[in-house]
């Protein structure tokens, strides 16, 4: 009795966690964070492109949740999305430009000084060493409008040639594979295909962890689909799937050719489609003749039965979709592997229909925007720099002299860094990426970057591994502090909105590039581009008549209202036929000169570095957890996310190997390759096969080990295969 009198059910501490109706369709929200408006913004991490509902109070974001009405994520988000606001409030945001002083330390400067420093340094380098002595390395993380500004100002304004992006590390392969096979970089699918397939084959993809919202869509599939996972690791996706083929690392091309062999052997082909809409099949068919189930079984370490079962599963008749991501893209023969997936889909007619497609799951939030509009490897609008007609089109749209458009392709990322190493590249501008952590086989990269005549880093944080080496740091506004559009994996253009004020003098990349153009003396290029939406209108004009035609999209409000719009959406399209989910090539016409999709083949070869006596393990790398994003510059800023991933770098090793080496779970280990050695803690798991080990890429030391091998077509690094030794530290 007296006890009940002395108990406090209410009070200030209790009130802190009281929930109240949030309105705006939110349900209950924390009372102290009740919004007085909401808006939708597309997430800035991965290419899934989820819609986030930002809870605003007086125009400022106070909280967010996943948007139930966005057609991509249907009200769900992964932890990174839920924590999208946290990185904006990090204490180590850079709030003024920084210049390295005579003592070698970075000190604050004002914008005029910083702009002048940039311009005078880069002009001096280019005057002395020519237009090919400078380069930029940008990103798949900034809006398309900013990418376009950067690539356009750099090449047509500054007169520079070389500029590449970290999309080289994630999507270059898919880009080249689609371009060669379909005539345009055009992922054909829509996310609805996850829900409409009978058979889903994931090749080198772990959507459960890397793209949890795509996995959501798989789990929503009502057709009780078969899911197959082709991956050396028993990933979360593999555990949850119907079948897992744990093949030998980098034997996927052989396996895919083996599947083609069986389909041809059994006549399990969509012959009408092959005849009408493809070319090169006969040659391809000839080439895969030697890939008998027996030889493929030997090369892949799989059983003949496993291979035959999968071949049976992907025969024509059912809705078969094949999905790939970094396991394929980051390989020494990546483009041909992607094209083998394309070939299998073409053979079964698995394209242009619900639940089908050779589908590349993209990596970064705006890798797709980069592929179309960054003006790096392609000319604006997915055009070719070497094509005079394309150059003329662009010159006309921009209203500039065609001579300002260089008729020369950029060096690829690895070639730019080679230039940095051997001194031909003397000035480097790094925008929203962190090569000091992320680039393959780091070697002496730190020293090389420090030796540059001028290294400019434009980022939200001066604390990234790369920014710490910079001569000039330009403070950038981040996601949520600026407007623009992203293009996601299914070609959906989504809008991001300004819901927070950038700290200090940080500016959106849009503004920084515009100011630099003016300071350089090429302000004419950006004079009419006063807002990001002005650039979006330019993107519309650039897309006119291209496969990525978006001339039917009126502007940002249109994108916002529709919950994102997939390209193409040409101006003459009938709005009545508009659908939230659209796929390409339903008519079987491909944007190649012949209108047909191509079969392409190269004989598989071994990776350059195989395990041997000194380095007996194959090192695989990849995403560790769903809460970590790449080099962690943003995800490390959230206290919640930090709790959800291991603080120490860890090495997955099979219990049998661990037992042989006397290694116990969570022991400290030394992992060494020919290029370096790192410390990591043991994680004993059967997710890896004996003889293989796995390191997550989010820990900076991992790239001390990786091997610099590149796909010859896409020049994408093969992060996922090198030889290492393991011992107790």
């Amino acid at each position: 009795m007296i006890e009940s009198l002395l108990r406090r059910f209410e009070g200030p501490l209790t009130r802190e966690l009281v929930r109240a109706p949030g309105r705006y369709g939110l349900g209950q929200v924390p009372e102290r964070l009740t919004p007085n408006a909401t808006t939708t913004s597309v997430c800035g991490y991965c290419s899934t492109g989820c819609g986030l509902k930002v809870h605003l109070r007086d125009g400022i974001a106070v909280n967010l949740s996943a948007d139930p009405r966005y057609p991509v994520n249907l009200g769900m988000a992964c932890p990174k999305g839920w924590e999208a606001l946290a990185p904006l409030s990090a204490p180590d945001r850079v709030v003024t430009p920084l210049l390295r002083n005579a003592q070698g330390t970075l000190e604050p400067a004002d914008w005029p000084t910083a702009l002048q420093a940039f311009v005078s340094r880069f002009k001096a380098i280019m005057q002395e060493h020519g237009p090919e002595s400078v380069a930029f390395l940008s990103t798949g993380q900034i809006p398309t409008e900013e990418m376009l500004m950067l690539g356009m100002v750099w090449k047509f304004g500054f007169g520079a040639i070389h500029g590449d992006a970290n999309t080289r590390q994630c999507m270059a392969t898919a880009h080249v594979a689609y371009k060669q096979s379909f005539g345009f970089d055009a992922p054909p699918f829509t996310y609805k295909d996850f829900e409409e397939s009978d058979v889903l084959v994931f090749v080198g993809a772990n959507p459960a962890i890397a793209h949890p919202i795509m996995w959501e869509r798989v789990m929503l599939n009502p057709r009780q689909p078969q899911t197959w996972v082709i991956d050396p690791r028993r990933t979360e996706t593999a555990v949850a799937s119907t079948r897992h083929l744990a093949l030998a690392p980098k034997s996927d091309l052989t396996l895919l050719y083996g599947l083609a062999h069986i389909l041809i052997r059994d006549g399990a082909l969509d012959r009408d489609f092959l005849a009408a809409h493809t070319e090169g099949f006969d040659e391809f068919s000839e080439n895969v003749k030697s890939f008998t189930p027996q030889t493929v079984a030997e090369a892949t370490g799989l059983s003949v039965a496993e291979i035959e079962d999968l071949a049976l599963a992907i025969r024509p008749g059912k809705r078969v979709s094949m999905w790939w991501t970094m396991g394929v893209n980051q390989s020494h023969e990546a483009v041909r592997t992607a094209q083998a997936i394309i070939a299998l889909c073409l053979m079964g007619g698995h394209i242009g229909k619900p639940g089908t497609g050779p589908n590349s799951i993209t990596g970064q939030a705006n890798a797709m925007g980069s592929r179309l509009f960054s003006n790096t490897t392609s000319l604006l609008g997915g055009r070719d720099l070497l094509n005079p007609e394309h150059r003329a089109e662009v010159a006309e749209i921009l209203g500039i002299d065609v001579e300002r458009i260089p008729a020369k392709n950029t060096l690829a990322y690895d070639q730019i860094l080679d230039g940095v190493r051997n001194g031909t590249i003397k000035g480097l501008w790094v925008v929203a990426t962190n090569p000091k952590h992320s680039w393959v086989a780091q070697g002496d990269l730190e020293k090389d970057l420090a030796n540059l005549d001028c290294l400019v880093v434009q980022d939200m944080y001066a604390s990234t591994e790369t920014a710490r080496l910079a001569d000039i740091v330009l403070p950038a506004a981040g996601w949520g502090e600026k407007e623009g559009t992203f293009i996601n994996s299914e070609r959906r253009i989504g809008l991001l909105k300004k819901v927070r004020r950038a700290p200090g003098q940080a500016l959106a990349d849009f503004h920084i590039i515009r100011l630099l153009a003016q300071a350089w003396g090429c302000g004419d290029l950006v004079q009419d581009l006063r807002t990001p939406e002005d650039v979006f209108q330019l993107m519309r004009r650039l897309s006119d008549g291209r496969p990525c035609d978006i001339t039917g999209i009126v502007g940002y409000k249109h994108v916002d209202r529709e919950g994102g719009i997939q390209w193409p959406w040409p101006k003459n399209a009938d709005p009545a036929t508009y659908a939230h989910e659209r796929r390409l090539f339903a008519d079987g016409n491909f944007p190649t000169p012949s209108g047909k999709a191509r079969f392409l083949f190269d004989a598989p070869r071994m990776p350059a570095e195989m395990p041997d006596k000194s380095f007996p393990f194959v090192l695989l790398t990849g995403r560790g957890t769903s809460v970590q994003w790449h080099t962690g510059t943003r995800t490390d800023k959230s206290a919640v996310l930090r709790k959800l991933y291991p603080a120490d770098c860890y090495l997955e090793i099979h219990p049998v190997d661990a037992s042989t080496l006397g290694i116990d779970h969570q022991d400290w280990l030394t992992v060494a390759s020919r290029r370096g050695e790192v410390k990591a803690r043991a994680c004993l798991t059967d997710a890896v096969q004996p003889g293989q080990v796995f390191l997550p890429m989010h820990y900076a030391q991992v790239n001390a080990l990786t091997h610099p091998e590149f796909d010859p077509y896409s020049r994408q690094p093969s992060y996922k295969h090198c030889a290492v030794s393991v011992r107790k530290a």
Partner: protein
């Protein structure tokens, strides 16, 4: 590369640049989302005005929450479909965001752990867990202030944030590591199953946010038979028998018992809880001082009133130490320190007075009551022990008599009638003289009560820890540790102080002790009767000085009996501390299980059906490995303290025949007492930091 200092701003930047920069900064600072997109979002604002508007996500979770509230004999429970959980951890972040939890602490009421399979049979499995809203919630049973409420209608175990005093006992009581202490707020917070959302027909935050619909809420019976689905058994998870958790984990693919948690081999020490560790040690020292005092008393040395086998006159004649009153206060003083330290442990110390509230269920409440009882008895013991001594009363009477010019107390009554001013004084004298006889009979009961409370204190202290799910604590060893601190360190502390007094007094003259009080009381009385003149102050000072000086110079009659008691205590302390060390040492043997397990693993390929260590065995193993690993130095220091103390005591014994060793022997005793005290504090630090808690599977 150093950037050369750029030209001045004016030289470089014509006005247009300055304007553009200002424009850019201005544009950057404007927030446009609402203005620009208002036409579209106004529709939502309009829609939002409908009060009964359904959350947009309602269709998604409609099937994931029960249609009806629990009936009688039912409650809500989480259901986790392990086959659908992909380990994305969105539930954790959604709980954080949708419940407005603390940013800086990264607070969330849901966690996701990992089970790994060394056998190769199953692959990894992520385990999402929040509060299990147990049928027998350990947190609620343990909370001393009744800050937990198991709701009658929903079964939700709700934490009353404003009732919490931040003692963190629920953290120790919960086998699942669910209640989390918030350092900034000084309280614990936990999951309430978003019961307010459920009442409004909405799903809990985690249920709303799971992209694969792996988490749902159901209604379960609160009277489950053994075979029913309520509760769960997961590899490496705590035994559900402790608290009867209600969460239902489902999987069509059985989880091999050989699966290990991602953090299975983590040797991260548990929270040290220094104030708590110190409280335990100091309170036990207080108990020991009482025991030692009683031992001296029983031997007739320090307080004759407590030697019932002696007559009053024998008591008076018996030798006793001066300053006994001081020693009589020792248990009280030490216990007060312990209680002060215990307050330091609390997040909200001002609410500490409520801590007795849950005496029906919580051993912590009972401990606090026992400690309070002991403190009260110790206070009474100290005061009554002094006041019941006739010698001070006689002396007081004498001084009162002096004031009234009456030579003896006996004649005071005679003068009462004649001298009005003396009436008060003489009454006082008789009262004073009668008081010791009045009090004497209750001294022994008070000491007895204090002794009983000291035992209750030890029992309740032990049960506070034994009654948790931590294997390291759930054993008789805990009670032994505590009792042996009292027996070894506490008694030794008393003996060393007694020894100092004896040594500093040198000689052996009876009656010194009473002189202190009589002198004091005489002067005080004198001062009072002098109408508070300056004499009083002088007299007071003089009295105290004289009394002490006399006492110190006159010394005591140090009979063999005193030495025998001291010797007995020393022997006891050596035995107790050595036994205690051995009990602690024995805990290290569990580390060996590890080696055995590894041998069997290397001899045979991993086997899905391989027998696995029980959860308590794994906890004990982790405790031992923490002691031998990250806490090795503390363990060695603790051992060193014990060894030094025992060595000092052995030297003390060797010197027992060397009469006149002066201050060496008390110094040895004090050194030993301090060594034991330090060793016990370190031991208690290890007691907490090595108390590997059971928990849900964690991450790497």
């Amino acid at each position: 590369m150093i950037v050369p200092s750029p030209p001045s701003l004016r030289e470089f930047a014509p006005n247009i640049m300055g304007e553009m920069i200002a424009e850019a900064l201005g544009a950057q600072a404007s927030l446009t989302a609402v203005d620009v997109f208002s036409s579209w979002h106004e529709q939502e604002v309009e829609a939002a005005k409908g009060l009964d508007q359904q959350p947009h996500l309602a269709p998604w979770y409609r099937d994931l929450i029960p249609l009806q509230a629990p009936g009688i004999g039912e409650q809500y429970a989480f259901v986790v479909d392990l086959d659908r959980c992909s380990g994305c951890k969105a539930c954790v972040t959604a709980c954080h965001s949708l419940n407005g939890l603390d940013e800086e602490e990264g607070e969330s009421f849901r966690e996701v752990g990992l089970l790994l399979d060394p056998s190769g049979a199953r692959g990894q499995q992520h385990i999402t867990s929040a509060c299990h809203h147990c049928l027998q919630p350990g947190c609620a049973d343990g909370c001393p202030v009744l800050a937990y409420e198991k709701e009658a209608d929903t079964g939700v175990v709700k934490h009353l944030d404003d009732q919490c005093i931040g003692c963190e006992y629920c953290v120790l009581k919960c086998p699942y590591d669910v209640p989390k202490y918030h350092h900034g707020k000084g309280i614990v917070r936990k999951c309430d199953l978003c019961v307010g959302r459920l009442r409004a027909g909405e799903a809990p935050a985690c249920v709303q946010a799971c992209p694969t619909k792996a988490i749902s809420v159901t209604v379960v019976s609160t009277q489950p038979v053994e075979t029913e689905a309520v509760g769960f058994t997961l590899p490496s998870a705590p035994d559900p028998a402790f608290t009867r958790p209600t969460t239902v984990y489902r999987s069509a693919k059985p989880l091999p018992a050989s699966m290990i948690a991602g953090d299975a081999k983590s040797l991260a020490p548990e929270a040290a809880h220094w104030p708590l560790a110190a409280t335990l040690v100091v309170s036990q020292v207080a108990f020991g001082t009482l025991w030692a005092g009683v031992a001296y008393h029983l031997a007739g040395h320090l307080s004759p009133n407590l030697a019932p086998h002696l007559t009053h006159s024998q008591n008076l004649a018996a030798s006793h130490l001066p300053g006994t009153w001081l020693l009589g206060f020792l248990p009280l003083v030490v216990m007060s320190i312990a209680l002060g330290l215990s307050i330091l442990h609390l997040g909200r110390p001002l609410q500490a007075w409520k801590a007795w509230l849950n005496w029906r269920k919580s051993w912590l409440s009972r401990e606090i009551i026992a400690f309070g009882g002991f403190a009260a008895c110790a206070a009474a013991y100290a005061l009554v022990g002094c006041l019941s001594d006739s010698s001070w009363a006689n002396a007081l009477a004498t001084s009162l008599g002096n004031v009234s010019a009456t030579p003896t107390g006996a004649s005071i009554s005679a003068s009462v009638a004649t001298s009005q001013p003396l009436l008060q004084a003489s009454t006082l004298v008789s009262l004073v003289q009668g008081l010791p006889d009045l009090l004497r009979p209750i001294v022994a009961p008070i000491a007895g009560a204090a002794f009983v409370f000291s035992l209750l204190g030890l029992i309740t202290s032990s049960m506070v820890y034994i009654d948790t799910p931590r294997a390291f604590w759930r054993r008789p060893a805990t009670a032994w540790r505590f009792a042996l601190t009292a027996l070894g360190t506490g008694t030794l502390c008393y003996a060393s102080l007694a020894s100092w007094l004896k040594a500093s007094l040198g000689g052996a003259i009876s009656g010194a002790y009473p002189r202190v009080f009589p002198a004091l009381t005489h002067e005080v009385t004198h001062g009072v009767t002098q109408s508070l003149t300056q004499e009083a102050a002088r007299g007071l000072t003089q009295g105290v000085t004289e009394g002490l000086t006399q006492g110190l110079t006159q010394g005591v009659n140090s009979g063999i009996t005193f030495e025998a008691v001291a010797g007995f205590i020393v022997a006891l302390a050596i035995a107790a501390h050595a036994l205690k060390w051995f009990i602690e040492f024995a805990a290290l043997r569990h580390a060996r299980l590890e080696t055995q397990a590894r041998h069997s693993a290397s001899a045979n390929p991993p086997d899905a059906n391989a027998p696995t260590l029980s959860s308590p065995a794994l906890q004990l193993q982790r405790s031992a490995r923490i002691l031998l690993g990250p806490k090795r130095k503390v363990w060695l220091a603790r051992t060193l303290g014990g060894v030094l103390g025992i060595l000092a005591l052995l030297v003390f014994i060797l010197l027992s025949d060397a009469a006149g060793s002066g201050f060496l022997r008390p110094a040895l005793l004090s050194f030993a007492a301090l060594s034991f005290l330090a060793a016990d504090l370190l031991e208690r630090h290890l007691f907490f930091t090595a108390s590997a808690s059971p928990r849900m599977p964690g991450t790497l």
